[in-house]
């Protein structure tokens, strides 16, 4: 076996792997410890996953917009309570030299009738001029042409199945018709947007159709204004200019700010964040208790052996290191099954709820860090028992 001489030398300094042997020569205790740590890890993965997934899901549609800046009414608090503002304000932004283009968007929840079982459910309707750029996906422009016909909508095929088998029927070549707020609409095509926290499904319409479906919309009022900037323009600078020139009846956001605004709503106005963080904290505490119990009884059971090692001339710090390594090994061995199970459960959640939950690196690192803190903290507590190992008492 060839290797770097440095590594070979370090390898030759190794000692008996006492921590590893202490753990593995007691397989039943190790299994209980790993089951406890994995359970805590899985619980944390699920709770954090749901939390982040729900927050991410709240901006499924926001992410798709082809825009640099967004105008909203100051009275709008979230995607489920959008208020109108004068369309003029959006047009006024064109006076800014860095603004390249605008798209006025209507945004509201409407009642969709399931064409199969006639049940109703609220769905997010976006209305725009079919010629205007709306989403970054270039496929939309050609699909949008069909919206020029009155009463046509594009249906989001990723909508929840409660809205009816619209996508299947449409692909089978059937004419799919439904009702929105008592007005007949026909599905003119399919798009893939995805469900969000506030909306279980989405449809796109032309502005004309939208106003027909929601006749109470005040004339000249829109809910969202998209502003595209010239390449190279600094969005922050433009925002400052727009804020100075526009009246206070509109708010200006960057695209990221628009998404953060939505996430903040769900984070601060609902108990979702608290509930899931609490769930993760429970997992953390349960894990701490289990690991502490295991390590404490392990140290207690081996106290005469630790005392013997001290009598032989081993340093207390060497023995503390053994307990610390036991904690580290438990963290590593317990994390792997938790990670694997987390991947599997995320796949299950995705298929069952269509929430965008997946294993992202920050969360994997967060959960590992928490497990590490859990194990090392417990090891630190268990170390206090080592102070009772008095080599004078073993004779």
């Amino acid at each position: 076996m060839s290797g770097l001489p440095g590594l070979r030398e370090i390898w030759s300094w190794r000692r008996i792997p006492l921590a590893w042997l202490l753990l593995t020569r007691q397989p039943a205790r190790l299994a209980v410890a790993l089951a406890g740590i994995s359970f805590a890890g899985i619980l944390m993965f699920m709770q954090f996953g749901f939390r982040d997934g729900l927050f991410d899901a709240s901006v499924t549609v926001h992410k798709l917009f082809d825009t640099d800046l967004v105008l909203l009414s100051p009275r709008s608090s979230s995607s489920v309570s959008m208020e109108g503002f004068p369309r003029r304000r959006l047009v006024q932004t064109l006076a800014d030299p860095d603004v390249a283009g605008i798209t006025p968007v209507h945004w509201n929840l409407v009642i969709w009738r399931n064409p199969e079982d006639r049940s109703t459910r609220s769905i997010l309707a976006l209305g725009f001029e079919p010629g205007d750029p709306l989403f970054t996906d270039p496929a939309l422009a050609s699909k949008a042409k069909v919206l020029n016909q009155r009463g046509r909508v594009l249906f989001d095929e990723l909508s929840r199945p409660e809205f009816g088998p619209v996508a299947e029927w449409f692909r089978d070549g059937r004419t799919v018709e439904s009702e929105i707020g008592g007005k007949r609409v026909r599905v003119g095509g399919l798009v893939a947007l995805g469900v969000s926290f506030g909306a279980d499904g989405n449809i796109l319409t032309s502005r004309e159709t939208y106003l027909q479906l929601l006749p109470n919309t005040p004339p000249g009022s829109i809910e969202v204004g998209l502003i595209r900037l010239r390449p190279g323009a600094d969005p922050e600078v433009v925002i400052r200019r727009l804020k100075a020139s526009l009246p206070k009846d509109v708010n200006v956001f960057t695209k990221q700010g628009f998404m953060d605004f939505e996430k903040d709503y769900w984070r601060s106005s609902t108990a979702i964040g608290f509930i899931f963080t609490l769930g993760a904290a429970m997992g953390f505490i349960v894990g701490c208790v289990i690991v502490y119990q295991i390590l404490y009884s392990d140290v207690s059971d081996h106290l005469p052996e630790y005392a013997t090692l001290m009598a032989m001339g081993y340093r207390l710090s060497t023995l503390l290191g053994v307990v610390a390594r036991e904690g580290l090994l438990l963290a590593l061995l317990g994390y792997l099954p938790a990670y694997a199970a987390g991947q599997g459960l995320y796949a299950l959640v995705r298929s069952a709820t269509r929430l965008p939950v997946s294993m992202d690196t920050p969360r994997a690192v967060t959960v590992f860090t928490l497990i590490l803190v859990m194990c090392m903290g417990s090891a630190g507590m268990a170390m206090r028992r080592l102070a009772d190992a008095d080599p004078a008492e073993i004779f």
Binding site: W13, I16, L21, R25, G313, F395
Partner: protein, 249 residues
């Protein structure tokens, strides 16, 4: 395979008038505090020369084990002087005592082997204390020592798979593997039958001799007193010399 390392000590015993291995002067020790304070050692004097085998006997509770723990640097000296390997233990720091213990092999009444380690790994816990040796050299030394105590065929056995005498022999190998200059043994034959007890002390004496290692052994066992170069009796915290009996056949 690197050069095979023999367990023999390379350095010979110091020539000329050697420094005593252990010199105890006027050692007194108390347990407890206040009204419960009880004296267990009263002005004990004891000298052990390098390579000498000294047996300490006496009724239980007379302070033998206390003396052993004080000489073994396991306890802080309260009054008097204890010099081990020339180092004064009265007023020594925790760190100094820990360092000194590396030069002292200890064999306990119970074998005190690590249950999760094989015989070979247990002995290597002793040779792991030696500086500047590779893992392989330390492992080979551990194997040599197990062969020296006649357990070359039981390297991979865990302690619970060994008999009482075998465990005590592993403990001897472990104590010697750290190349001690002084061996302290507390009733090493207490848990053994007559024959294995005899084998264990004979082995202990032979190996200690080969290593020029002094031995201080506490024992109740009248069957093994003949291994001593010198017999010391203790009563009520005081020491007195006693004649060494003739070896029994």
């Amino acid at each position: 395979m690197t050069t095979s390392v023999s367990p023999q000590r390379s350095s010979a015993a110091p020539a000329g008038a050697p420094l005593p291995m252990v010199q105890v002067d006027g050692l007194s020790h108390w347990y407890g505090a206040g009204e419960m304070r009880r004296q267990v050692l009263q002005k004990v004097n004891l000298t052990i020369q390098p390579g000498e085998v000294v047996l300490l006997t006496g009724p239980s509770g007379c302070g033998k084990t206390t003396l052993l723990t004080l000489v073994g640097a396991l306890r802080q000296v309260q009054q008097g002087s204890v010099r081990v390997l020339g180092q004064e233990l009265n007023g020594s720091s925790r760190k100094q005592r820990q360092q000194l213990r590396r030069c002292i092999g200890m064999i306990f009444q119970g074998h005190n082997l690590l249950r999760c380690l094989s015989a070979e790994q247990n002995v290597q816990m002793g040779s792991d204390l030696l500086p500047d040796l590779s893992y392989r050299a330390r492992r080979d030394q551990a194997r040599e020592w197990l062969r020296a105590v006649g357990l070359g065929d039981h390297l991979d056995k865990l302690p619970h798979g060994l008999s009482g005498g075998q465990k005590q022999r592993v403990a001897i190998a472990r104590a010697l593997a750290a190349h001690p200059r002084l061996l302290l043994a507390d009733e090493p034959t207490a848990a053994l039958d007559k024959q294995s007890g005899r084998e264990v002390v004979d082995l202990l004496k032979r190996l200690a001799r080969e290593q020029h290692c002094a031995v201080l052994m506490v024992t109740h066992d009248p069957r093994i007193l003949d291994v001593a170069d010198r017999l010391v009796q203790m009563e009520d915290g005081r020491l007195m010399a006693a004649p060494v009996p003739e070896p029994t056949a």
